[in-house]
């Protein structure tokens, strides 16, 4: 079966799972894309290197990257894109084989297939966690920058006398407020954040 055909199948399957998890209607197609792309990565790597666990790990990483990207552009929590996407990767087949082996009282086979299932689950969560924590670090860094910017804005306001006569504590509170606003702009409204930093010069 060609890769393109498998991509289409995975696309449709992921959208089906997405409906099952009540994903908002406007993000269905993107969820499907994330899942299909993740599965295709899994498929190609699995065929090349013949290792389900490594393929799952890399596919989960790619999936997390796509999910984060979509989460930014669509202003949705990234779970919306990732949860339906990981279902095709989940070790359902391995769990089924484990159960069959236990039924046949073939316990060594059960241990073998069962540990494969656990390794696949670990690979998925490991892949997701690595990408997500690197991204969280980068975001924190950007938040710190936004905080510095907020202090600058407040200082400028004070100089121009727009900030009224505030004592130190109130100034601190104002800065905190501006910081939060800045942070939200930074995280979710990329383009607006750029506009904002442009306007900063005018203040």
């Amino acid at each position: 079966m060609s890769i393109a055909l498998k991509f289409v199948y995975a696309y449709i399957a992921t959208i089906g799972f997405a409906v099952l998890f009540q994903v908002p209607k406007k993000t269905l197609l993107r969820s499907g894309f994330a899942g299909a792309f993740g599965w295709s990565v899994f498929n190609v790597i699995n065929q090349e290197f013949d290792s389900v666990v490594v393929a799952t790990f890399l596919a989960a990483m790619v999936l997390a990257m796509i999910g984060e990207r979509f989460a930014r552009t669509e202003k949705q929590p990234f779970t919306v894109f990732i949860i339906p996407g990981i279902v095709p990767l989940v070790p359902g087949v391995a769990l089924y084989n484990t159960m069959i082996a236990i039924l046949e009282e073939n316990y060594s086979l059960a241990a073998e297939v069962g540990s494969e299932a656990i390794l696949i689950a670990l690979a998925i969560s490991g892949g997701l966690t690595i990408v997500l924590s690197v991204n969280a670090y980068l975001r924190k860094k950007r938040m710190a920058l936004a905080g510095k910017r907020a202090i600058k804005i407040q200082e400028k306001k004070n100089k121009l006398g727009k900030g009224k006569e505030l004592d130190l504590e109130e100034q601190q509170k104002e800065i905190e407020k501006t910081k939060l606003e800045e942070y939200y702009k930074e995280q979710f409204y990329d383009d607006e954040a750029q506009d904002y930093s442009g306007n900063e010069e005018e203040i």
Binding site: A13, G16, V23, P77, I86, L95, A121, G126, T129
Partner: protein
Amino acid sequence: MDEKALEELRESIRKEVKEAMHEEHALATRQKEILIMAIYAAEIMVRNGSETYRVEDTIMRICKSEGLDYVEALVTPTGILVSIDQSHSSQHHMLTFNKRIQNRMINLEKVSEVNDFSRRFVVKEMSVEQGMQRLREIDDKAFPYPISTQALSAGVASGFFVLLVGANFLEFISALLSTIIMTFVLGVLIKREFSYFFAHLSGGMIAASLAIFASNLHPDIRMNLVIIGGIMVMVPGVAITNGLRDTIAGDLMSGIIRGVEAVIIAVSIAFGVGFVLNIWNVAQRFL
């Protein structure tokens, strides 16, 4: 000092104390309102399958945007605990709220909506009362997709999934049909508030029975693939993955709770499927 001046002084002191008490009361009421709203938002998120850190983050943001400096939130899939106060240094007005969460499901639309709400609330687009009203609206919202649509899409998903793992056209059709029936029954059982164990046990039994039935209709239909198609829809992959992710992130309690939930679901599916397969194996000897 004469009597009259003394009386005036007393009067003014009384007035001041009264005003101060009034202020303090207003402050406490406002704090309570904010706390109740934050908890409500968190409750909706946890009940609909959000990750732990996102819920804690939302509580922190909502409270801090209203000027409450001291916020401690402990979120697990079974309960939420939040303490707030005005400032770190003096904790005289400490408020703590505890919310038990009974049942959980996955409804990502609501998670997304509360997430959006918290973003709007933090940039002061609405007051606390308006926020509370918005949260009630979100909470009362029906599922975006009814059970019939869910069953249909689960069927499609499982059909195309078995195609991915190498099924033929007949297996595709039988996985599609059997999963539609199974998901519909599962949805009804969960809606009627049967326990997770019972619902997934029944799901596993139905999947296995229908797969046996289908494999006897035509020799090309492999029973294994049809069962896998059915259980893919139920498999607690999300719970396993989220549990492991919580554990790696350091939310050990949530991780363990989710992990146990996943194991229970997996065991109940295996029970259902295994039970039917075993009976079928025994019955075949007599047929």
